[in-house]
Symmetry: D2
Subunit: 397 residues, 4 copies
C-alpha cells in the first residue's frame, strides 16, 4: 500500500484476494470455462459466492461512490489473481468501465434502469463502439464511425455494424455509439433486442471474457429519446471519460493474473529438478524469475502513478497510454517467462499460466495496440517541444 | 535455392508449395481441425489428395532414399506453408523423424513391418521418450528415464509412464525407450495396444499435431525380441541419430508457417487503412514487416547451414542447437509481429496467424527449450577453450 | 514531486536544476574535461560557483542532517542533468556514499578530520574496496579480500592492491578495506600518502569522474588505531550501510543525465528534417522518443520506490538490486535511442549525448553488473518460496 | 569456407589472419592509436610490415582483378580481427569502397593517377558526399546535396561544405560529389588542396579510422575536366555502384573485430573465478557466450548470402540493407555481451573489447542507420505486394 492508498482499499483488496484464492481459483478448470469465456451459468454460480462473501462489485460503495483509482488498483489486482476473479466479483471489462461511465454521465432514471442491475451483478453490459473496417477487422481509428442514428419523432433509429464487441453475447445492457447529425452520440439499450443480431462470436486467442467478442449487425434498432447518454454529438467526449480509467483497470487485472502466473512458475521452479538441482538454482531459470520480480514491480508502480494522476482529476490520456504500453509489454514478458520456466507444463492447460499468456497477448491489442499509443506519445513529445519553443526565437538553444 | 540444393529438390518443393496453397490451405478452417490437431478423418482426406498429386512423403524417394537435408529444407518449408501441410504430405513430427531413424537403423523386417506403412502415409507413429518428472511435467533431462524393460524369455516386458507423447493417440506405430540392464534401449510396437493406456491428452497451446500430446501408462507391454531397434543399451545412441535432423525439420516446417503468416500480415497491412493511409505506410507497421523479412531470411540461412553440416555427415549437435534457438526465437518474433500488425484480426481465428503464433510458442519448448540448448552451447564454448589451452602453459595468451 | 517528497526537497532541487543548466552546462566542452574526468582545476572552479550559489553539497543540511532519500532523489536527478553537475555541487560518487557512511559511523573526531572537508567540498575521497582478481580485472565477489592490516602497537600496517578505485587520484581522504584477524575492517587515511602508490589510472569508456579509476598498491601504509572506522571485523557490515543508498544515488544522477540527453534528442528530432519532414514525424524516430518517455518515467518511479523503502529504515538490499538492474538497463536503452535519433551527431562529441551513452554503459557494470543482482534476486525468490513452504506439508499447493 | 568460396580466397584469408594476429595485434595499445585513428606514422609502419608479408591490399590481385565478394568476405573478416588490421593491409573504409568504385568506373588515366597509389597503400582516400544539414549534423537523405560545381572553360569550380568525411584529414585522393547543371556528379581531386579546408575533425565514439571524420569547406576548388568520374549527372548512379559492396565490407570487418572480442571474453570467462567457479560456468555468463556464438554465425551467413547476391551481378540494394541492419545490430549485442562478461575490465582499455564496443556503436549509424534501411525495406514490402496485385482484380485473395 502506498501513501496514496487507504486502509479501506487495502482491507477490501485483502478480502477479495482471500476470496479469489479460496473460492474462485478452484473453478479455473471447470468445463464451463469455454473458449468464449465462462458460461452464463458459471458466472451466476461465481457471483452467488461473491454476494455471500459481501464482495460483489467491491470497488463501488453502497452509496454509489467509487473507490479512488489508487484503491481500485489494489482491489482489481486482487480480483485478477484468477482469470475468473474479475467476473466473479463484477469488476471485469467492459462492465467496470461501463459502470464508471454511467456513474459519471447517466441521468438518475438511466442509472436506475441501466446502471443499477450492472452494479448488482445481475446484468452484464457491452460497449458498442468499434466497427469493422472496409478491409475487415477491428480498428483503433475512431474517425471511421459509420453506424447512424436517425431521429424519428421521439425516438432514434440505429443502423450499422459493430465489431469486436466484448461481452455482447449474453449482455442485458448495451451502450452504443452512433453518428447523429450533431456527431457521435451514445445510446443505452436493453439487450437482447431482435434488432441487434450477433453475426458471429469470434474465436480469439483469449478466453476469459464472458460472451467473447462478437460482430453484430444493428438493423433498425429503435430507442426512445431518453435512452441517449448525454446530449447529441457528445459521444466522443463521453467515451473519453471511460477511456483512460478503463485502459488502466485492464492493467490492474492482468497484473494480478501475471502475479499469480509468476507464483505458479516459482513454485514449479523450486520443486522441479533437472541436471541435478532444482531448476530455480539454474541461473537460466532463476534470472527469468528475477526479471519477473522487476517487471511486476514496475507494472505496479506505473499503475499506481497513473491512478494517482486520475485521482488528481487529470484526464490521464498521456499517462494511461504510457502505462498501457509499459504494462502490457512487461506482462507479456512475464507471462512468456512463466511459460518458458515451466517447459512442457507451461504450454499445457494444466495450470492457468498458458491461459494467462494467451490473455496477455490479446491485451496487447485491446484498448489500442502499443503502436497507436506510441504514435500519440510521439505527437505529445513534439507538441511539448513546439509549445516550449513558441516563445521568441532567441529562446531556442 | 543455394548451391547446395538440387534442381530435383527445388522441383519437388515447388510442387508441394503449389499443392499446399491450392489444395490444403482451404481446409484450414475445417471444423475437423480440433484443439488436439486435425481429426483422423481429415488426415485421411488430405492424404488422399496428396497421394493423387503424387506428393505423399515427398522427401523420401521410391527407392527409400531420403533427399539431402538441404533439399529437405526446401520441401518441408513448402509443406509448412499451411499448418495442415506437413500432415497432408506426411512430413510432420514425429513421423518424419521416426522415418529417418528407422531408415537408418531398422532391420529389413522391421522396415517392412513398421517403416513401410508410415512412409505410405497409412500409419502414424509416436516416439515414447519423455517421462513425467516427479514434480510433474515433461522434461529435457534424459537421465531421468524410469520406464523398464525386463527380459522374459524371448520377449521384453515394459512398464512405465511417458509424458508429452506427440501423436500417440491414433498412432499405429510406437518407438519406445526403456531401461534394460544394458542401459536405455529402443523398442518398436504396434499400436493401439491395451497395455499402452492413454491417461489423458493434454490441452496445449498448439493444435496442429494429430493426436495432440498424451500422457500414457505402459503396463506390462509384451514385445518380441525382434522388436528391439538395434542392440540393448543403444537407446541413447540411436535416439541421437534422430535428434539433430528432427530438431531441424521442426525449424523448416515452422519457417514455412511463419512465411505464410507474414504474407497474410503484408496483405492486411497493404489493404487496411488507418489515420488516412494504408497501415503499411505507417513506419510503426512497415518496420515490423521489414524486421520480418530479415528474420525470415536469417532463419532460412541458419537452416540451410545446419542442413549442409548434416549432409556432410557431421552429427550437427552443436549446429542444430544453435539453429533451434535462433530459429525458434526469430519465428516467435515474426509471428508476434504478424499478430500485432493485424490488431484485432491478428488475435482472432479469422486467419491462421493466431494459430501460427500459438504453435511457435510451443515450438520454443519442444525439442528442448532455448535454455537447455544455451546451456550445452556454453559447455561447448568452455570445452573448446580448454582443449585449445591444454597445450604447454606458454601458449596461454 | 510525490507525496513522499517535501517542499524543501523540491525547492533545493529546483535551485540545483537552474544552477546546473545555467552555470555548469556551459563547461561541458571545456578542454579540462579529460578522459579521466574533469581536472582538479576545473572542479575547483565549478565548486566556487556552487558555493556562491549556496548549493555546495545540497543534500546535507548545515546541521549535518541528510535529506530523506526521496528528497535526495529530486536533488541528485537535478544535479545529474549535466555530467559535471554532481561534481560541481559535490553529490558525485564515491564522495556522496562516503559522506553517507561517515555520517552514520564515524566518531566525532573522525567526522571533524575526514568528513567535514568532504562536505565542504574542499576534499575529494575514495573508497578502496575492490581488489584485482588473480585473472586480472575488478570484481563483484567481496570474499576475495586480500589486503591485510597487521596490528603494530597502536597502529595498523596495511599492505595489498586495490583495483578500480574511483577518484583515488587527487583524493584527500581514503576509506580502505583490509583484513584484520577479526575479519574485514575499514580504515580512514589522509591522501596522498607515499605508501599508497597509483600503479596506473585505467582508460575507461566513461569520463565523468575526477581522478578516473585507478589501480593502487598499498605498501606498508601505517595508520593510527583511531583511524579505524567502527570496530575490527565490522568492515562488511559497515560497507553494507553505504551499499544500497550509493547504488541508488548512481541511479538518480544517471537518470538526470539521460533526461537531458532525451531533451537534446527531442530538440534535434524536432528541428532536423529528412525525406520531407521533421524527423520526429517519422514514426521510426517518434516511437523511440515515446519509448524514452516511458523508460524515464519508470526509472523515476523505481528510484522513488526504493528511496521510500530506505526512508522507512529498511536495508533495501533487494529493492536496490531490482532498481539498479531496471534503471541501468532502461537508461542504456534511453541513451542508445538518443544516439540513434541523432545519427552522426549522436556518435560525435558535439553534444553530451555521446558521453552519456558511454557513462551509462559503464554504470551497467559499476556497483555490480546486472547478472550479480539477478543472481541475488533469484536467491531471494527461492528463499521466499522455501520460507513459505517450511510450514507443515499440507500447506503445499 | 562455403561452396561459394574459393581455395585461393581461403588461403589469402588464412595468411591475413596469421599476419593480423601475430604482427598487427601487438600494436593495439601503441600510443600512436589516437582518438582520431592511428597516426600516419603508425599506418606507414604497419603497411611496411604488410608489404613485407606480401599482404598489401590482399583482395585485389596484381592484375587489378578483385576477389569475388564471397572471397572478400573471408579476407576482410580476417583483417578485421584487429581494429588496426584493415588499415594495415589496406582494406579499410573508405579506401576499400573507393578502390572498388574507381576500378569499375575510372578511365585508365584516372586509374593510373588516382587508383594506383591507393592500391599500393601509399595513398589514403576520402569520399566527400554527406553534407551538413541545416539543423546541423550528418545526413542519410542524399537529396540534400548543396555543393555546386560550375563549369569554367575546361575546368570545374566547386564550392560547398561536407560533413562526416572519413579519413579526409591526411588523405591524398578525394572523390567529391557536387551538383552540376546535369545533376549530381563525381570528381577526383589530389589532396591536400588549399581549397579544401578542414574546419574540424569531429570527436567521435569510434577511433579506428585514420584521419577521423572531418567537416570540410570546399572553397573555389578548381578541377580539370578530366577529373570528373564518369559523365555529368551520373553522380548518384556511380555512387550506387559503391554503395552495397561498401556497406557489406563494413559488416565483414566488424564481424572480424567482434569475433576477436568474443575470443577475449571467452578467455576471460574461462580464467576468471567468482563465487567459487570459473565465471563461464555461471549460466548468466555462459548463456551470453552461447548467444554470441549464434549471433556471430548469423552475421557470417548473412554476409556470405549478400556477397553471393553481389557476385551474381545483382545490385544487392535490398539484400545489403537487410544485412547491414541484421549484422550491425547483432554485432552490437555481441560487443555488449563481451563488455558485460568482462565487467570492469570490459569497460577499460585493457583489452580491445571496449574499443570494439564503441566502434560497433558508430557502425550502427554509418552507411545509414537501421531506421533508414527499415524504411526502404518497408517500401520494398509494399512494392512487391502492389506488383503482385496489379494483375486483374480476381487474383486478389
Amino acid at each position: 500500500m502506498t501513501s496514496t492508498q487507504s486502509e479501506r482499499g487495502g482491507a477490501i483488496a485483502a478480502a477479495v484476494e482471500a476470496f479469489v484464492r479460496a473460492e474462485v481459483a478452484p473453478y479455473e478448470f471447470d468445463p464451463r470455462c469455454g473458449s468464449h469465456g465462462p458460461s452464463g451459468d458459471l458466472v451466476t454460480e461465481l457471483r452467488e459466492k461473491a454476494r455471500e462473501a459481501g464482495l460483489m462489485t467491491p470497488h463501488i460503495l453502497d452509496n454509489g461512490e467509487h473507490l479512488s483509482h489508487c484503491d481500485t488498483a489494489l482491489v482489481l489486482r486482487a480480483a485478477g489473481l484468477s482469470p475468473l476473479g474479475p467476473v466473479a466479483v463484477n469488476v471485469m471489462a467492459p462492465d467496470e468501465g461501463n459502470m464508471f461511465l454511467l456513474g459519471k454521465t447517466a441521468s438518475d432514471e438511466q442509472k436506475r434502469r441501466f446502471l443499477a442491475p450492472i452494479i448488482s451483478g445481475e446484468a452484464r453490459s457491452a460497449f458498442f463502439m468499434t466497427e469493422p473496417a472496409a478491409g475487415g477487422g477491428a480498428g483503433s481509428d475512431p474517425s471511421l464511425l459509420k453506424t447512424t442514428a436517425i431521429r424519428d419523432g421521439n425516438h432514434w433509429i440505429l443502423n450499422g455494424r459493430k465489431a469486436f464487441i466484448t461481452g455482447a453475447q449474453g449482455a442485458q445492457v448495451g451502450i452504443i455509439m452512433a453518428r447523429t447529425e450533431e456527431g457521435a452520440s451514445l445510446f443505452l439499450a436493453n439487450l437482447p433486442d431482435p434488432a441487434i443480431r450477433t453475426e458471429r462470436v469470434l474465436d480469439t486467442i483469449d478466453s476469459s471474457m464472458p460472451g467473447g467478442h462478437a460482430i453484430v449487425a444493428i438493423e433498425n434498432l429503435r430507442l426512445a429519446a431518453d435512452q441517449m447518454l448525454g446530449a447529441p454529438g457528445e459521444g466522443f467526449r463521453l467515451a473519453q471519460i471511460r477511456l483512460a480509467p478503463a485502459r488502466l483497470t485492464h492493467c490492474m487485472r492482468w497484473l494480478g493474473a501475471c502475479t499469480r502466473a509468476h507464483e505458479i512458475a516459482v513454485d514449479y521452479a523450486c520443486r522441479r529438478k533437472a541436471f541435478g538441482k532444482a531448476i530455480v538454482d539454474h541461473e537460466g531459470v532463476g534470472f527469468m524469475l528475477a526479471d519477473n520480480l522487476i517487471d511486476l514491480k514496475q507494472c505496479e508502480l506505473m499503475i499506481d502513478w497513473c491512478a494517482s494522476v486520475l485521482d488528481a482529476g487529470e484526464p490521464g490520456t498521456v499517462e494511461s497510454s504510457m502505462t498501457k504500453v509499459a504494462v502490457s509489454e512487461a506482462l507479456m514478458r512475464v507471462a512468456d517467462r512463466c511459460v518458458q520456466v515451466m517447459g512442457g507444463t507451461g504450454v499445457s492447460g494444466d495450470t492457468i499460466v498458458e491461459q494467462v499468456f494467451r490473455e496477455v497477448r490479446a491485451f496487447r491489442i485491446y484498448d489500442g495496440p502499443s503502436e497507436v499509443h506510441r504514435w500519440s506519445l510521439a505527437k505529445k513529445v513534439k507538441r511539448d517541444w513546439v509549445s516550449s519553443h513558441s516563445a521568441p526565437e532567441e529562446n531556442a538553444p
